[in-house]
């Protein structure tokens, strides 16, 4: 176990979030999205962030990805400063790739062109090399049939899988997933989960996964971080010790049920708070 950890560390992907605070001020109204949040994510960990809708989880992800600045605090990736007091906004880079909630495959490129996009623009491969590698990777993911289709022609589940391939082709250190399966039905979701686990077992990439689905979080994650409602803070950490590779049988296991029980109360409490806060705002 110890050895494996070191090997993973060498590959990189350790994410360290230290006392991060983010205050938005739309028209001077003070909205605190993230309040003094700290967490350490080991290299190769599947880290699941669970919290009520609109609690500021996405703000955290945006700060890591470099879409937003942070107000105070620091974020490190493998001891390298992404953002901090001297540099409020991280620069975007192919070491941290986001998979978006509604999907952001370029509709004007075929799936293969989408996958090959990263290496080409980074200049690390020629167009031919990138297309060849893209084909191989799509085939590994069982998606070679649709390589020449446009994103608008395939189902959202397939598009999301391609989007993960598009991220992985750059060998990122961290994969940032922002509720990627939110709009899917339960059956599609379960297929998505299996394919994501398969990808993880193959690559052991660090995964920062935002969701509000507790069972999804425990099924996929090594560690589940339950967040409070806005402002976003860490409320509870649940370690998931279910061995990998996992499959759908564990969903009915006693261990899984106990873990859900353990986290559920904390999540429910926050959801209720968020709901009541929403009620107040509307009244």
């Amino acid at each position: 176990m110890q050895k494996e950890e070191t090997a993973r560390d060498a590959a990189g992907g350790r994410l360290s979030i230290r006392n991060v605070t983010k205050i938005y001020d739309p028209e001077g109204v003070n909205v605190m999205a993230v309040d003094d949040c700290s967490m350490d994510i080991a290299a190769g960990e599947v880290c699941m962030i669970v919290g009520p809708s609109g609690c500021g989880k996405t703000t955290l992800l945006n700060a890591i990805a470099g879409f937003h600045s942070i107000t105070t605090g620091e974020i490190y990736l493998d001891d390298q400063l992404l953002c901090g007091p001297s540099k409020p906004q991280a620069s975007m880079g192919a070491d941290r790739i986001v998979v978006f909630q509604h999907g952001a495959l370029f509709p004007w490129k075929t799936l293969l062109e989408n996958v090959a996009y990263g290496p080409i623009v980074q200049g690390s491969m020629t167009k031919e090399q990138a297309h060849a590698l893209g084909k191989v990777m799509l085939e590994e993911a069982g998606l070679s049939d649709v390589a020449d289709k446009y994103p608008g022609e395939v189902s959202s589940g397939m598009a999301r899988r391609v989007e993960i391939v598009r991220a992985l082709i750059n060998s990122p250190k961290v994969l940032l997933l922002d509720e990627p399966y939110r709009a899917m039905d339960a059956l599609t979701k379960s297929i998505m989960h299996e394919s994501l686990l398969e990808v993880y077992d193959r690559t052991k990439v660090t995964i920062f996964f935002i969701t509000h689905d507790l069972e999804e979080a425990i099924f996929l994650g090594d560690r589940v971080y339950v967040m409070t409602t806005r402002p976003c803070k860490l409320k509870k950490v649940v370690d998931v010790n279910i061995p990998r590779p996992r499959d759908y049988k564990i969903l009915s296991s006693e261990q899984f049920r106990l873990l859900v029980e353990e986290a559920k109360e904390a999540v429910h409490e926050e959801a209720l708070k968020a709901f009541q806060a929403g009620e107040r705002e509307l009244a």
């Binding site: 205050i23 003094d36 950490v237």
Partner: protein
């Protein structure tokens, strides 16, 4: 593993940032102001180039300088003929535009709701639509007994096609779910039309009206310029421009252009304001 430590932040940070934001919104305003000043300055320099350096600046050198235009404007606004031109043009625009609205909206709605009506009347409409409104001017001059009526007719045509197309598109784009929801609550055919289709089409009607208003001004201007028919005492802004051009007063031509720009802008703003008034649910956004 790090457990969360809570700490309270508020106050000073926020105040500084919102002030920054205010300054940012000002930046846009200042940039716009600078741009327009630079634009006017270059124009002024360009048209004065010849008197300073002896050689005419290409193109811009032939246009009167903004300062000269301003001077001409102060003179023009004291003349009664200029203002009657405003009134005349506005009258024509109003007549043509209202006629297009009164005939165009029911026609567009009828095309949208009735399949047979659409089958019969849409193809001829589509054949006539690509003909630019101004190509109708001579035919209209032959047909209508007076000049005024032919200008009104061409103006009407210009706005009519745009309004009908927008109404038709808007009414056809109404979400079927609204119709089904209303039907499931027991709405009659008349209710469907009056409570769903009509308000659902309002945004498109006003979009069409705004575009149509722009076209109306262009057509009125052109019709006035082509048909002539005005005197010193008035006759419309298009005639004012043409007359000034023939009289060799370029400053007045530019004054006329700016006047037409202002008139067109005022009319579109009026349409927009009406739209806001009739569509309170849109004001929220």
């Amino acid at each position: 593993m790090t457990e969360m430590v809570q700490s309270g932040h508020d106050g000073p940070v926020v105040v500084r940032r919102s002030r920054l934001k205010k300054a940012l919104s000002n930046v846009k305003f200042w940039r716009g102001l600078i741009a327009i000043c630079v634009f006017l300055g270059l124009w002024e320099i360009g048209s004065r180039w010849e008197s300073w350096f002896g050689v005419a600046f290409p193109y811009v050198g032939l246009i009167p300088a903004p300062s000269a235009v301003g001077l001409a404007a102060t003179e023009v606004v004291t003349k009664i003929g200029y203002w009657t031109s405003w009134v005349d043009s506005f009258k024509r625009v109003f007549v043509g535009f209202m006629a297009a609205m009164i005939l165009g909206i029911p026609f567009g709605l009828a095309l949208a709701v009735n399949k047979y009506f659409r089958g019969i009347f849409f193809p001829p409409f589509e054949i006539l639509r690509p003909i630019p409104p101004l190509a109708w001017v001579p035919a209209s001059l032959i047909f209508w007994p007076t000049n005024e009526m032919s200008i009104a007719f061409v103006t009407f045509l210009g706005a009519f096609f745009t309004i009908v197309i927008n109404v038709l598109g808007g009414a056809r784009a109404i979400d079927v779910r609204y119709l089904r929801a209303a039907q499931s609550m027991g709405a009659t055919q008349w209710d469907l039309f009056y409570k769903i289709i009509l308000p659902g089409t309002l945004p498109s009607i006003f979009t069409g009206a705004a575009v149509g208003m722009g076209i109306t001004w262009e057509v009125v201007l052109a019709a006035e310029m082509i048909s002539g028919g005005g005197t010193q005492a008035g006759g419309g802004l298009g005639f004012f421009i043409w007359n000034s051009f023939m009289g060799g007063s370029l400053e007045q031509v530019v004054v006329g252009m700016i006047s037409i720009g202002i008139a067109g802008y005022l009319s579109s703003s009026a349409v927009r304001a009406l739209g806001d008034y009739f569509m309170p649910w849109r004001r929220l956004f």
